[in-house]
Symmetry: C2
Subunit: 129 residues, 2 copies
């Protein structure tokens, strides 16, 4: 795989963990550095491995029938840092039907040995069209 393919695969691994609501896989996705950050849309920033994993546990515990499909995935890689930007197209099935929302995400991965580990997920709502 090229570095570009590796970075996109790491990014897909993150969204696969989200869509599968797999805390086990989400734990594997993230770096264990103190300096890591996660910004869920509209939330204050969360820093550090344990608080970030706990936030995903809370989201998975309170979520049914939600899926993210990606579009506009682009990468910029330099050394052992990979920046992936993408649009998250979020679909949720609720009592009132299918609800859709769009989020812009900045994802940053750092290569540790053979693995690309997530060090930043910054997601913010796109304005309504």
């Amino acid at each position: 795989m090229t570095l570009d393919e590796e970075a996109k695969a790491a990014n897909e691994g993150f969204y696969n963990a989200f869509n599968a609501q797999s805390l086990t896989n989400m734990k594997e996705v993230w770096s264990d550095l103190d300096r890591i950050s996660c910004i869920h849309p509209g939330w204050p920033p969360i820093h550090g491995y344990e608080p970030i994993i706990n936030s995903w546990k809370g989201i998975f515990d309170n979520t049914d029938n939600m899926e993210i499909k990606l579009s506009d995935v682009e990468t910029l890689i330099s050394g052992d840092f990979a920046w992936v930007r993408c649009q998250e197209n979020l679909f949720a099935i609720t009592m009132s039907g299918v609800q859709a929302s769009k989020v812009f995400a900045t994802n940053l991965f750092q290569k540790v040995g053979e693995d690309w580990k997530m060090v930043l997920h910054h997601a913010s709502h796109l304005p309504q069209a």
Copy 2:
């Protein structure tokens, strides 16, 4: 200067250009790569040098008496990529008094020769306390 100091200086250069409303300095801050992105709070993403610089021109042309003070500045540097995260504390003087708002920013710089150039500014509003 250490790499950490260099990255923080590049970050300060960006906010100095903002606070001075200097389009000339803002043009120097950004990388001329196609892949660069700027997300102003609540805006759709803007990609590429000319559209990003034009967005700053529009902001500067329509802004008076606004200042950003930074807090919680942290860096993570690897090779020639530097990720700087910070809280922007924005103050604006309006007819009805001083208005304050808080924004979380992800800034990414790439070293080009001796200079750190901005390749990403992703800013999103923090929730009201």
